[in-house]
Protein backbone atom coordinates (compact mmCIF):
# COMPACT_ATOMS: atom_id res chain seq x y z
CA UNK A 1 0.00 0.00 0.00
CA UNK A 2 2.66 2.38 1.12
CA UNK A 3 4.92 1.33 -1.70
CA UNK A 4 2.26 2.07 -4.24
CA UNK A 5 1.83 5.52 -2.79
CA UNK A 6 5.52 6.43 -3.09
CA UNK A 7 5.55 5.04 -6.58
CA UNK A 8 2.75 7.29 -7.70
CA UNK A 9 4.39 10.19 -5.97
CA UNK A 10 7.56 9.55 -7.90
CA UNK A 11 5.55 9.28 -11.03
CA UNK A 12 3.94 12.59 -10.32
CA UNK A 13 7.31 14.15 -9.72
CA UNK A 14 8.58 12.88 -13.01
CA UNK A 15 5.64 14.09 -15.03
CA UNK A 16 5.86 17.29 -12.98
CA UNK A 17 9.39 17.85 -14.21
CA UNK A 18 8.50 17.27 -17.83
CA UNK A 19 5.45 19.46 -17.38
CA UNK A 20 7.62 22.19 -15.93
CA UNK A 21 9.99 22.02 -18.82
CA UNK A 22 7.06 22.13 -21.21
CA UNK A 23 5.53 25.11 -19.44
CA UNK A 24 8.80 26.98 -19.32
CA UNK A 25 10.28 26.03 -22.65
CA UNK A 26 10.22 29.58 -23.96
CA UNK A 27 12.05 30.89 -20.92
CA UNK A 28 14.55 28.06 -21.15
CA UNK A 29 15.13 28.73 -24.82
CA UNK A 30 15.76 32.41 -24.13
CA UNK A 31 18.24 31.62 -21.37
CA UNK A 32 20.04 29.03 -23.51
CA UNK A 33 22.64 31.25 -25.26
CA UNK A 34 23.74 32.76 -21.95
CA UNK A 35 23.64 29.37 -20.27
CA UNK A 36 25.89 27.79 -22.88
CA UNK A 37 28.22 30.78 -22.82
CA UNK A 38 28.68 30.55 -19.04
CA UNK A 39 29.04 26.79 -19.27
CA UNK A 40 31.83 27.06 -21.84
CA UNK A 41 33.79 29.97 -20.46
CA UNK A 42 33.16 29.70 -16.72
CA UNK A 43 32.16 26.17 -15.71
CA UNK A 44 34.37 24.19 -18.07
CA UNK A 45 37.46 26.11 -16.86
CA UNK A 46 36.37 25.35 -13.28
CA UNK A 47 36.38 21.67 -14.14
CA UNK A 48 39.72 22.32 -15.79
CA UNK A 49 41.18 23.16 -12.40
CA UNK A 50 41.90 19.45 -11.96
CA UNK A 51 44.66 20.01 -14.51
CA UNK A 52 46.69 21.23 -11.55
CA UNK A 53 46.89 17.62 -10.37
CA UNK A 54 47.72 16.16 -13.73
CA UNK A 55 50.74 15.87 -15.90
CA UNK A 56 49.78 17.98 -18.86
CA UNK A 57 50.17 16.50 -22.27
CA UNK A 58 48.33 18.04 -25.18
CA UNK A 59 48.31 14.83 -27.16
CA UNK A 60 45.97 13.26 -24.61
CA UNK A 61 42.48 14.26 -23.58
CA UNK A 62 42.03 15.71 -20.13
CA UNK A 63 40.72 12.35 -18.82
CA UNK A 64 43.69 10.41 -20.10
CA UNK A 65 46.38 12.62 -18.61
CA UNK A 66 48.23 11.05 -15.71
CA UNK A 67 47.57 12.06 -12.15
CA UNK A 68 50.63 13.48 -10.44
CA UNK A 69 49.16 14.50 -7.09
CA UNK A 70 50.71 17.60 -5.62
CA UNK A 71 53.83 17.52 -7.73
CA UNK A 72 52.90 20.65 -9.69
CA UNK A 73 52.44 22.50 -6.41
CA UNK A 74 55.85 21.30 -5.23
CA UNK A 75 57.34 22.89 -8.33
CA UNK A 76 55.39 26.04 -7.69
CA UNK A 77 56.48 26.50 -4.10
CA UNK A 78 60.05 25.55 -4.85
CA UNK A 79 60.24 28.51 -7.18
CA UNK A 80 62.15 31.23 -5.31
CA UNK A 81 60.03 33.99 -6.86
CA UNK A 82 56.72 32.70 -5.67
CA UNK A 83 56.83 34.28 -2.23
CA UNK A 84 57.69 37.73 -3.55
CA UNK A 85 54.90 37.31 -6.05
CA UNK A 86 52.44 36.24 -3.35
CA UNK A 87 53.47 39.08 -1.07
CA UNK A 88 53.12 41.65 -3.86
CA UNK A 89 49.74 40.33 -4.91
CA UNK A 90 48.29 40.36 -1.40
CA UNK A 91 49.77 43.70 -0.35
CA UNK A 92 48.68 45.49 -3.51
CA UNK A 93 45.20 44.09 -3.22
CA UNK A 94 44.93 45.03 0.45
CA UNK A 95 45.89 48.58 -0.44
CA UNK A 96 43.39 48.49 -3.34
CA UNK A 97 40.61 47.25 -1.05
CA UNK A 98 41.29 49.94 1.54
CA UNK A 99 41.60 52.63 -1.14
CA UNK A 100 38.46 51.33 -2.83
CA UNK A 101 36.48 51.63 0.39
CA UNK A 102 37.70 55.15 1.19
CA UNK A 103 38.69 57.25 -1.83
CA UNK A 104 35.50 56.81 -3.90
CA UNK A 105 33.37 57.21 -0.76
CA UNK A 106 35.19 60.45 0.06
CA UNK A 107 34.72 61.69 -3.50
CA UNK A 108 31.04 60.82 -3.45
CA UNK A 109 30.50 62.56 -0.12
CA UNK A 110 32.44 65.58 -1.35
CA UNK A 111 30.31 65.71 -4.49
CA UNK A 112 27.12 65.53 -2.48
CA UNK A 113 28.27 68.44 -0.31
CA UNK A 114 29.02 70.78 -3.20
CA UNK A 115 26.48 73.57 -3.32
CA UNK A 116 26.63 73.98 -7.08
CA UNK A 117 25.07 70.77 -8.38
CA UNK A 118 26.00 71.54 -11.95
CA UNK A 119 29.69 71.61 -11.06
CA UNK A 120 29.22 68.37 -9.13
CA UNK A 121 27.94 66.80 -12.33
CA UNK A 122 30.95 68.05 -14.28
CA UNK A 123 33.46 66.75 -11.74
CA UNK A 124 31.80 63.41 -11.53
CA UNK A 125 31.66 63.13 -15.29
CA UNK A 126 35.33 63.94 -15.66
CA UNK A 127 36.27 61.59 -12.82
CA UNK A 128 34.45 58.73 -14.54
CA UNK A 129 36.36 59.20 -17.78
CA UNK A 130 39.56 57.30 -16.87
CA UNK A 131 37.45 54.18 -16.38
CA UNK A 132 36.95 54.13 -20.15
CA UNK A 133 40.64 54.26 -20.99
CA UNK A 134 42.30 50.90 -21.59
CA UNK A 135 45.39 49.75 -19.73
CA UNK A 136 47.36 49.81 -22.96
CA UNK A 137 46.64 53.49 -23.36
CA UNK A 138 47.35 54.09 -19.68
CA UNK A 139 50.77 52.57 -20.23
CA UNK A 140 51.28 55.29 -22.86
CA UNK A 141 50.20 57.90 -20.34
CA UNK A 142 52.72 56.43 -17.89
CA UNK A 143 55.44 56.65 -20.53
CA UNK A 144 54.53 60.28 -21.19
CA UNK A 145 55.03 60.94 -17.49
CA UNK A 146 57.97 58.71 -16.64
CA UNK A 147 60.05 58.19 -19.78
CA UNK A 148 63.71 58.75 -18.95
CA UNK A 149 64.52 60.99 -21.89
CA UNK A 150 61.22 62.58 -22.87
CA UNK A 151 58.92 62.08 -19.88
CA UNK A 152 57.44 65.19 -18.39
CA UNK A 153 58.75 64.49 -14.89
CA UNK A 154 62.34 64.28 -16.07
CA UNK A 155 61.99 67.51 -18.04
CA UNK A 156 60.92 69.71 -15.17
CA UNK A 157 64.42 70.81 -14.29
CA UNK A 158 65.01 68.34 -11.49
CA UNK A 159 67.59 65.57 -11.41
CA UNK A 160 66.32 63.00 -13.91
CA UNK A 161 65.21 59.71 -12.39
CA UNK A 162 65.38 56.44 -14.25
CA UNK A 163 61.81 55.57 -13.31
CA UNK A 164 61.57 52.29 -15.17
CA UNK A 165 64.67 50.99 -13.42
CA UNK A 166 63.93 52.17 -9.87
CA UNK A 167 61.63 49.80 -7.99
CA UNK A 168 61.01 51.99 -4.96
CA UNK A 169 58.64 54.35 -6.76
CA UNK A 170 56.50 51.71 -8.37
CA UNK A 171 54.23 50.70 -5.52
CA UNK A 172 53.05 54.31 -5.48
CA UNK A 173 52.80 54.60 -9.24
CA UNK A 174 50.78 51.40 -9.58
CA UNK A 175 48.47 52.28 -6.71
CA UNK A 176 48.01 55.72 -8.22
CA UNK A 177 47.00 54.37 -11.61
CA UNK A 178 44.69 51.81 -10.06
CA UNK A 179 42.86 54.49 -8.08
CA UNK A 180 42.99 56.84 -11.03
CA UNK A 181 41.22 54.36 -13.29
CA UNK A 182 38.70 52.83 -10.90
CA UNK A 183 37.63 55.43 -8.37
CA UNK A 184 35.37 57.39 -10.71
CA UNK A 185 33.33 54.28 -11.44
CA UNK A 186 32.93 53.43 -7.77
CA UNK A 187 32.23 57.05 -6.85
CA UNK A 188 29.26 56.98 -9.21
CA UNK A 189 27.83 54.01 -7.34
CA UNK A 190 28.32 55.64 -3.94
CA UNK A 191 27.07 59.00 -5.16
CA UNK A 192 23.88 57.36 -6.36
CA UNK A 193 23.47 55.68 -2.99
CA UNK A 194 23.92 59.02 -1.20
CA UNK A 195 21.31 60.65 -3.41
CA UNK A 196 18.92 57.87 -2.47
CA UNK A 197 19.11 58.71 1.23
CA UNK A 198 15.92 60.25 2.60
CA UNK A 199 16.59 63.97 3.06
CA UNK A 200 14.30 64.02 6.09
CA UNK A 201 16.99 62.17 8.00
CA UNK A 202 19.35 65.09 7.52
CA UNK A 203 16.69 67.61 8.45
CA UNK A 204 15.91 65.71 11.63
CA UNK A 205 19.62 65.52 12.47
CA UNK A 206 19.99 69.26 11.82
CA UNK A 207 17.12 70.01 14.16
CA UNK A 208 18.82 67.89 16.79
CA UNK A 209 21.84 70.14 16.37
CA UNK A 210 24.13 67.89 14.33
CA UNK A 211 26.59 69.77 12.11
CA UNK A 212 27.46 68.68 8.60
CA UNK A 213 30.41 66.57 9.77
CA UNK A 214 28.29 64.78 12.32
CA UNK A 215 25.56 64.22 9.75
CA UNK A 216 28.02 62.57 7.41
CA UNK A 217 29.26 60.31 10.17
CA UNK A 218 25.88 59.21 11.56
CA UNK A 219 23.76 59.22 8.40
CA UNK A 220 25.75 59.13 5.15
CA UNK A 221 28.46 56.65 6.10
CA UNK A 222 26.10 54.11 7.72
CA UNK A 223 23.83 54.29 4.66
CA UNK A 224 26.74 53.49 2.40
CA UNK A 225 27.92 50.62 4.56
CA UNK A 226 26.05 47.80 2.75
CA UNK A 227 27.46 48.89 -0.60
CA UNK A 228 30.97 49.26 0.79
CA UNK A 229 30.75 45.84 2.41
CA UNK A 230 29.41 44.17 -0.72
CA UNK A 231 32.22 45.62 -2.81
CA UNK A 232 34.79 44.66 -0.19
CA UNK A 233 33.59 41.05 0.00
CA UNK A 234 33.84 40.67 -3.74
CA UNK A 235 37.28 42.30 -3.64
CA UNK A 236 38.53 40.01 -0.87
CA UNK A 237 37.61 37.03 -3.02
CA UNK A 238 39.91 38.42 -5.68
CA UNK A 239 42.79 39.10 -3.32
CA UNK A 240 45.02 36.69 -5.22
CA UNK A 241 43.81 37.97 -8.58
CA UNK A 242 45.86 40.98 -9.45
CA UNK A 243 44.71 43.25 -12.23
CA UNK A 244 46.62 41.72 -15.12
CA UNK A 245 46.15 44.75 -17.36
CA UNK A 246 47.71 47.09 -14.81
CA UNK A 247 50.63 44.94 -13.75
CA UNK A 248 51.46 43.62 -17.17
CA UNK A 249 51.18 46.80 -19.21
CA UNK A 250 52.11 49.75 -17.05
CA UNK A 251 55.60 48.61 -15.85
CA UNK A 252 56.40 47.68 -19.49
CA UNK A 253 57.85 44.35 -18.43
CA UNK A 254 60.93 46.02 -16.96
CA UNK A 255 63.04 43.35 -15.30
CA UNK A 256 64.48 45.70 -12.73
CA UNK A 257 60.98 46.39 -11.42
CA UNK A 258 59.94 42.76 -11.05
CA UNK A 259 60.57 42.59 -7.28
CA UNK A 260 57.75 45.08 -6.75
CA UNK A 261 55.60 44.58 -9.85
CA UNK A 262 55.47 40.83 -10.31
CA UNK A 263 52.08 39.50 -9.22
CA UNK A 264 50.41 36.11 -9.48
CA UNK A 265 48.54 36.80 -12.70
CA UNK A 266 51.66 37.98 -14.47
CA UNK A 267 53.58 35.05 -12.99
CA UNK A 268 50.91 32.62 -14.21
CA UNK A 269 50.88 34.25 -17.62
CA UNK A 270 54.65 34.13 -17.97
CA UNK A 271 54.72 30.50 -16.90
CA UNK A 272 51.97 29.69 -19.40
CA UNK A 273 52.99 31.63 -22.46
CA UNK A 274 56.61 32.65 -22.12
CA UNK A 275 58.10 29.57 -20.50
CA UNK A 276 55.44 27.12 -21.61
CA UNK A 277 55.43 25.76 -18.07
CA UNK A 278 51.80 24.74 -17.94
CA UNK A 279 52.27 22.56 -14.88
CA UNK A 280 53.39 25.47 -12.75
CA UNK A 281 50.90 27.92 -14.17
CA UNK A 282 47.98 25.56 -13.62
CA UNK A 283 49.11 25.02 -10.03
CA UNK A 284 49.34 28.73 -9.34
CA UNK A 285 46.00 29.29 -11.07
CA UNK A 286 44.41 26.58 -8.93
CA UNK A 287 45.85 28.14 -5.82
CA UNK A 288 44.41 31.53 -6.81
CA UNK A 289 40.92 30.24 -7.50
CA UNK A 290 40.54 28.04 -4.44
CA UNK A 291 42.01 30.50 -1.94
CA UNK A 292 39.90 33.29 -3.43
CA UNK A 293 36.73 31.23 -3.13
CA UNK A 294 37.48 30.26 0.48
CA UNK A 295 38.17 33.90 1.33
CA UNK A 296 34.82 35.03 -0.04
CA UNK A 297 33.03 32.37 2.00
CA UNK A 298 34.98 33.27 5.16
CA UNK A 299 34.47 37.03 4.79
CA UNK A 300 30.82 36.59 4.05
CA UNK A 301 30.50 34.29 7.10
CA UNK A 302 32.18 36.87 9.34
CA UNK A 303 29.98 39.66 7.99
CA UNK A 304 26.93 37.48 8.52
CA UNK A 305 27.92 36.85 12.13
CA UNK A 306 28.31 40.57 12.79
CA UNK A 307 25.25 41.75 10.90
CA UNK A 308 23.18 39.28 8.99
CA UNK A 309 21.43 41.82 6.79
CA UNK A 310 24.72 43.01 5.30
CA UNK A 311 25.98 39.64 4.12
CA UNK A 312 26.20 39.09 0.40
CA UNK A 313 24.49 35.68 0.52
Amino acid sequence: MRKVQTATKQNEKKTGFIKNIRNNWQFLLMAMPGFVQVLLFSYLPMAGLILAFKSIDYSKSIFEMDWVGFKNFEFLFKNPDVFTVLRNTILYNLVFIIAGATVPVAIAIGLSLLRNKRMAKVYHGVGFLPYFISWVIISYLAVALFDYRLGILNNMGMEPVNWYQTPKYWPFILVFFHIWKSCGYNAVIYYAAIKGIDSELYEAAAIDGAGVGRQIWVITVPSLKPTIIMMAILAVGKILNADFGLFYNVPMGSGALLPVTNVLDVFTYNALKLNGDIAMSSASGFFQSIVGFCLVLITNYIVRRIDESQALF
Binding site: N20, N24, Q26, F27, L28, L29, M30, G34, Q37, V38, L40, F41, S42, L44, P45, G48, L49, L51, I107, G110, L113, L114, V122, Y123, G125, V126, G127, F128, F132, I133, S134, W135, V136, I137, Y140, L145, D147, L150, I152, N154, I189, A192, A193, Y202, E203, A206, G211, V212, P226, T227, M230, N241, N249, M252, T268, S281, G285, S289, F293, F313
Partner: protein, 307 residues
Protein backbone atom coordinates in the same frame (compact mmCIF):
# COMPACT_ATOMS: atom_id res chain seq x y z
CA UNK B 1 18.52 90.74 11.65
CA UNK B 2 15.61 88.74 10.47
CA UNK B 3 17.34 88.01 7.23
CA UNK B 4 20.46 86.99 9.07
CA UNK B 5 18.59 84.50 11.16
CA UNK B 6 16.96 83.04 8.08
CA UNK B 7 20.35 82.65 6.45
CA UNK B 8 21.80 80.96 9.48
CA UNK B 9 18.91 78.57 9.72
CA UNK B 10 19.22 77.61 6.11
CA UNK B 11 22.92 77.11 6.46
CA UNK B 12 22.62 74.91 9.48
CA UNK B 13 20.24 72.53 7.77
CA UNK B 14 22.73 70.56 5.80
CA UNK B 15 24.78 72.90 3.74
CA UNK B 16 28.45 73.56 4.19
CA UNK B 17 29.88 77.02 4.78
CA UNK B 18 31.01 79.14 1.85
CA UNK B 19 34.71 78.72 2.67
CA UNK B 20 34.31 74.96 2.84
CA UNK B 21 32.46 75.02 -0.45
CA UNK B 22 35.24 76.98 -2.13
CA UNK B 23 37.90 74.70 -0.72
CA UNK B 24 35.99 71.63 -1.84
CA UNK B 25 35.65 73.08 -5.32
CA UNK B 26 39.40 73.65 -5.45
CA UNK B 27 40.01 70.03 -4.44
CA UNK B 28 37.67 68.81 -7.13
CA UNK B 29 39.20 71.01 -9.78
CA UNK B 30 42.58 69.49 -8.97
CA UNK B 31 41.03 66.05 -9.13
CA UNK B 32 39.42 66.78 -12.50
CA UNK B 33 42.72 68.10 -13.87
CA UNK B 34 44.48 64.96 -12.66
CA UNK B 35 41.98 62.89 -14.60
CA UNK B 36 42.39 64.87 -17.80
CA UNK B 37 46.08 65.78 -17.69
CA UNK B 38 47.69 62.52 -18.90
CA UNK B 39 45.31 62.27 -21.83
CA UNK B 40 45.85 65.91 -22.76
CA UNK B 41 49.59 65.26 -22.56
CA UNK B 42 49.43 62.47 -25.13
CA UNK B 43 47.17 64.44 -27.45
CA UNK B 44 49.30 67.59 -27.11
CA UNK B 45 52.48 65.66 -27.80
CA UNK B 46 51.08 64.22 -30.99
CA UNK B 47 51.14 67.75 -32.43
CA UNK B 48 54.76 68.45 -31.48
CA UNK B 49 57.47 68.77 -34.08
CA UNK B 50 59.81 65.78 -33.87
CA UNK B 51 63.18 67.50 -33.28
CA UNK B 52 61.55 69.84 -30.79
CA UNK B 53 59.98 66.84 -29.06
CA UNK B 54 63.34 65.10 -28.90
CA UNK B 55 64.98 68.05 -27.15
CA UNK B 56 62.33 69.16 -24.63
CA UNK B 57 60.28 65.99 -24.22
CA UNK B 58 56.52 65.48 -24.10
CA UNK B 59 54.59 68.72 -23.74
CA UNK B 60 50.91 69.34 -23.31
CA UNK B 61 51.23 72.62 -25.27
CA UNK B 62 54.19 72.15 -27.63
CA UNK B 63 55.80 75.40 -28.75
CA UNK B 64 56.69 74.08 -32.18
CA UNK B 65 53.53 72.61 -33.64
CA UNK B 66 53.53 70.32 -36.63
CA UNK B 67 51.17 67.87 -38.21
CA UNK B 68 53.99 65.67 -39.45
CA UNK B 69 52.97 62.81 -37.20
CA UNK B 70 49.46 62.74 -38.62
CA UNK B 71 50.74 63.23 -42.16
CA UNK B 72 53.09 60.33 -41.65
CA UNK B 73 50.25 58.17 -40.36
CA UNK B 74 48.07 59.12 -43.31
CA UNK B 75 50.85 58.22 -45.71
CA UNK B 76 51.34 54.86 -44.01
CA UNK B 77 47.75 54.21 -43.09
CA UNK B 78 47.67 50.51 -44.02
CA UNK B 79 48.48 48.84 -40.67
CA UNK B 80 46.47 51.33 -38.63
CA UNK B 81 43.49 51.09 -40.91
CA UNK B 82 43.63 47.35 -40.65
CA UNK B 83 43.77 47.48 -36.84
CA UNK B 84 40.92 49.99 -36.79
CA UNK B 85 38.81 47.82 -39.04
CA UNK B 86 39.32 44.85 -36.74
CA UNK B 87 38.39 46.94 -33.72
CA UNK B 88 35.28 48.40 -35.33
CA UNK B 89 33.98 45.09 -36.66
CA UNK B 90 34.64 43.30 -33.39
CA UNK B 91 33.00 46.10 -31.43
CA UNK B 92 29.87 46.15 -33.57
CA UNK B 93 29.36 42.40 -33.68
CA UNK B 94 30.34 41.89 -30.04
CA UNK B 95 28.11 44.64 -28.73
CA UNK B 96 25.03 43.52 -30.64
CA UNK B 97 25.35 39.83 -29.89
CA UNK B 98 26.35 40.21 -26.27
CA UNK B 99 23.57 42.69 -25.53
CA UNK B 100 21.02 40.24 -26.90
CA UNK B 101 22.48 37.32 -24.94
CA UNK B 102 22.69 39.34 -21.72
CA UNK B 103 19.22 40.86 -22.10
CA UNK B 104 17.54 37.52 -22.76
CA UNK B 105 19.20 35.87 -19.79
CA UNK B 106 18.47 38.85 -17.53
CA UNK B 107 14.84 38.90 -18.59
CA UNK B 108 14.41 35.23 -17.88
CA UNK B 109 15.82 35.47 -14.36
CA UNK B 110 13.75 38.56 -13.67
CA UNK B 111 10.44 36.74 -14.21
CA UNK B 112 8.84 35.18 -11.16
CA UNK B 113 6.75 32.82 -13.30
CA UNK B 114 9.89 31.08 -14.51
CA UNK B 115 10.09 27.82 -12.63
CA UNK B 116 13.89 27.58 -12.62
CA UNK B 117 14.59 31.24 -11.88
CA UNK B 118 16.50 30.42 -8.71
CA UNK B 119 18.71 27.86 -10.38
CA UNK B 120 19.58 30.12 -13.31
CA UNK B 121 20.30 33.04 -10.99
CA UNK B 122 22.61 31.02 -8.79
CA UNK B 123 24.23 29.41 -11.81
CA UNK B 124 25.34 32.86 -12.89
CA UNK B 125 26.00 34.39 -9.48
CA UNK B 126 28.36 31.56 -8.59
CA UNK B 127 30.66 32.53 -11.44
CA UNK B 128 31.16 35.90 -9.73
CA UNK B 129 32.57 34.13 -6.68
CA UNK B 130 34.54 31.34 -8.24
CA UNK B 131 36.33 30.92 -11.53
CA UNK B 132 38.80 28.61 -13.09
CA UNK B 133 41.38 31.25 -13.81
CA UNK B 134 43.60 31.89 -16.77
CA UNK B 135 45.10 28.49 -17.52
CA UNK B 136 42.02 26.27 -17.82
CA UNK B 137 40.26 29.09 -19.65
CA UNK B 138 43.14 29.29 -22.09
CA UNK B 139 43.11 25.55 -22.61
CA UNK B 140 39.34 25.49 -23.17
CA UNK B 141 39.70 28.25 -25.76
CA UNK B 142 42.67 26.86 -27.59
CA UNK B 143 42.32 23.10 -27.26
CA UNK B 144 38.62 22.40 -26.85
CA UNK B 145 36.98 25.20 -28.85
CA UNK B 146 40.06 25.68 -30.99
CA UNK B 147 39.43 29.36 -31.62
CA UNK B 148 42.99 30.62 -31.39
CA UNK B 149 44.00 32.74 -34.34
CA UNK B 150 40.47 33.38 -35.52
CA UNK B 151 38.37 36.53 -35.42
CA UNK B 152 35.84 34.58 -33.37
CA UNK B 153 38.35 34.61 -30.50
CA UNK B 154 38.08 38.38 -30.25
CA UNK B 155 34.33 38.24 -29.69
CA UNK B 156 33.06 34.96 -28.34
CA UNK B 157 34.74 34.60 -24.92
CA UNK B 158 33.43 37.99 -23.73
CA UNK B 159 29.80 37.72 -24.80
CA UNK B 160 28.46 37.16 -21.30
CA UNK B 161 29.07 39.19 -18.18
CA UNK B 162 27.49 38.18 -14.88
CA UNK B 163 27.73 41.70 -13.56
CA UNK B 164 25.85 43.26 -16.48
CA UNK B 165 23.20 40.55 -16.34
CA UNK B 166 22.61 41.53 -12.72
CA UNK B 167 22.39 45.22 -13.66
CA UNK B 168 19.98 44.47 -16.49
CA UNK B 169 17.88 42.19 -14.28
CA UNK B 170 17.42 45.06 -11.82
CA UNK B 171 16.25 47.20 -14.72
CA UNK B 172 13.66 44.60 -15.67
CA UNK B 173 12.38 44.02 -12.14
CA UNK B 174 12.12 47.71 -11.27
CA UNK B 175 11.26 49.23 -14.63
CA UNK B 176 8.75 46.86 -16.19
CA UNK B 177 5.26 46.95 -14.64
CA UNK B 178 4.03 43.45 -13.99
CA UNK B 179 0.55 44.37 -15.19
CA UNK B 180 1.46 44.90 -18.83
CA UNK B 181 3.29 41.57 -18.97
CA UNK B 182 0.31 39.81 -17.42
CA UNK B 183 -2.19 41.40 -19.77
CA UNK B 184 -0.07 40.52 -22.78
CA UNK B 185 0.06 36.95 -21.56
CA UNK B 186 -3.71 36.86 -21.18
CA UNK B 187 -3.95 38.10 -24.75
CA UNK B 188 -2.02 35.02 -25.72
CA UNK B 189 1.43 36.44 -26.43
CA UNK B 190 4.36 34.06 -26.03
CA UNK B 191 7.28 34.89 -23.75
CA UNK B 192 9.52 35.82 -26.65
CA UNK B 193 6.86 38.09 -28.10
CA UNK B 194 6.36 39.73 -24.71
CA UNK B 195 10.06 40.39 -24.45
CA UNK B 196 10.47 41.84 -27.93
CA UNK B 197 7.24 43.82 -28.12
CA UNK B 198 6.73 44.98 -24.55
CA UNK B 199 9.66 44.51 -22.21
CA UNK B 200 12.51 45.59 -24.49
CA UNK B 201 10.89 48.86 -25.64
CA UNK B 202 10.24 50.05 -22.09
CA UNK B 203 13.74 49.02 -21.00
CA UNK B 204 15.67 50.87 -23.68
CA UNK B 205 17.72 52.94 -21.17
CA UNK B 206 18.85 49.77 -19.38
CA UNK B 207 19.64 47.93 -22.57
CA UNK B 208 21.50 50.98 -23.89
CA UNK B 209 23.60 51.15 -20.73
CA UNK B 210 24.71 47.55 -20.96
CA UNK B 211 25.28 47.88 -24.70
CA UNK B 212 27.49 50.91 -24.12
CA UNK B 213 29.50 49.16 -21.43
CA UNK B 214 30.04 46.20 -23.72
CA UNK B 215 30.95 48.58 -26.54
CA UNK B 216 33.62 50.19 -24.39
CA UNK B 217 34.83 46.75 -23.38
CA UNK B 218 35.27 45.59 -26.97
CA UNK B 219 36.78 48.89 -28.04
CA UNK B 220 39.33 48.76 -25.24
CA UNK B 221 39.97 45.04 -25.31
CA UNK B 222 43.54 43.95 -25.81
CA UNK B 223 43.40 40.81 -23.67
CA UNK B 224 41.58 38.48 -26.06
CA UNK B 225 43.76 39.12 -29.12
CA UNK B 226 46.80 39.17 -26.89
CA UNK B 227 46.02 35.80 -25.34
CA UNK B 228 44.38 33.97 -28.21
CA UNK B 229 46.03 35.23 -31.38
CA UNK B 230 49.64 35.36 -32.47
CA UNK B 231 49.25 36.43 -36.07
CA UNK B 232 49.47 40.26 -36.43
CA UNK B 233 46.55 40.01 -38.82
CA UNK B 234 44.19 39.77 -35.86
CA UNK B 235 45.61 42.68 -33.89
CA UNK B 236 43.05 45.31 -33.04
CA UNK B 237 43.98 48.91 -32.38
CA UNK B 238 44.80 48.25 -28.71
CA UNK B 239 47.11 45.36 -29.44
CA UNK B 240 48.70 47.31 -32.25
CA UNK B 241 49.36 50.16 -29.83
CA UNK B 242 50.80 47.72 -27.34
CA UNK B 243 53.16 46.37 -29.93
CA UNK B 244 54.47 49.75 -31.06
CA UNK B 245 54.89 50.87 -27.46
CA UNK B 246 57.16 47.94 -26.77
CA UNK B 247 58.92 48.25 -30.05
CA UNK B 248 59.20 51.59 -31.74
CA UNK B 249 60.80 49.88 -34.68
CA UNK B 250 57.45 48.35 -35.53
CA UNK B 251 56.26 51.69 -36.88
CA UNK B 252 58.98 51.40 -39.50
CA UNK B 253 57.88 47.96 -40.57
CA UNK B 254 55.15 49.14 -42.87
CA UNK B 255 55.95 48.50 -46.54
CA UNK B 256 56.08 52.17 -47.57
CA UNK B 257 58.84 52.92 -45.09
CA UNK B 258 61.19 50.14 -46.04
CA UNK B 259 61.71 51.71 -49.47
CA UNK B 260 62.89 55.01 -48.03
CA UNK B 261 66.54 55.91 -47.82
CA UNK B 262 68.53 56.72 -44.70
CA UNK B 263 67.94 60.46 -44.69
CA UNK B 264 64.19 60.15 -45.06
CA UNK B 265 64.20 57.41 -42.47
CA UNK B 266 65.79 59.70 -39.90
CA UNK B 267 63.08 62.28 -40.40
CA UNK B 268 60.25 59.92 -39.57
CA UNK B 269 58.35 61.32 -36.59
CA UNK B 270 58.54 58.16 -34.54
CA UNK B 271 57.74 59.51 -31.11
CA UNK B 272 55.10 61.83 -32.47
CA UNK B 273 53.52 59.15 -34.65
CA UNK B 274 53.30 56.79 -31.71
CA UNK B 275 51.49 59.37 -29.63
CA UNK B 276 49.30 60.31 -32.59
CA UNK B 277 48.13 56.70 -32.96
CA UNK B 278 47.44 56.66 -29.24
CA UNK B 279 45.50 59.91 -29.57
CA UNK B 280 43.49 58.36 -32.40
CA UNK B 281 42.55 55.48 -30.10
CA UNK B 282 41.57 57.77 -27.21
CA UNK B 283 39.77 60.23 -29.50
CA UNK B 284 36.53 58.37 -30.21
CA UNK B 285 36.03 57.59 -26.53
CA UNK B 286 36.63 61.14 -25.37
CA UNK B 287 34.42 62.55 -28.12
CA UNK B 288 31.57 60.13 -27.58
CA UNK B 289 31.77 60.20 -23.81
CA UNK B 290 29.79 63.42 -23.11
CA UNK B 291 26.82 62.07 -25.06
CA UNK B 292 26.83 58.67 -23.42
CA UNK B 293 27.82 59.64 -19.92
CA UNK B 294 24.29 59.88 -18.55
CA UNK B 295 23.55 56.33 -19.68
CA UNK B 296 26.55 55.01 -17.82
CA UNK B 297 25.63 56.91 -14.70
CA UNK B 298 21.94 56.02 -14.78
CA UNK B 299 22.81 52.40 -15.52
CA UNK B 300 25.00 52.07 -12.49
CA UNK B 301 22.54 54.02 -10.40
CA UNK B 302 19.60 51.74 -11.07
CA UNK B 303 21.54 48.56 -11.43
CA UNK B 304 23.70 48.62 -8.36
CA UNK B 305 20.88 48.23 -5.87
CA UNK B 306 21.84 45.31 -3.68
CA UNK B 307 20.20 41.96 -4.33
Amino acid sequence: MNKNRFFKKKLRKNEISTTANVLLNVVFIIYALMCLYPMALVIGTSFAEETYLNTVGYKIFPQVVSFDAYKYILANIQPILRAYTVTICVTVVGTVVSTVVIALYAYVISRNEFRYKKFFTFYLFFTMLFNGGMVPWYIVCTQLLDINNTYVALVWPALMSAWYVMIMRTFFTTGVPNGIVESARIDGAGEFMIFVRIVAPVSIPGIATVALFQMVYYWNDWYLPFMLTSDPEYANIQLYLKRILNNLQEILNSPGVAAQSGDALAKIPREGARMAICALAIGPIVLAYPFFQRFFVSGLTVGSIKG
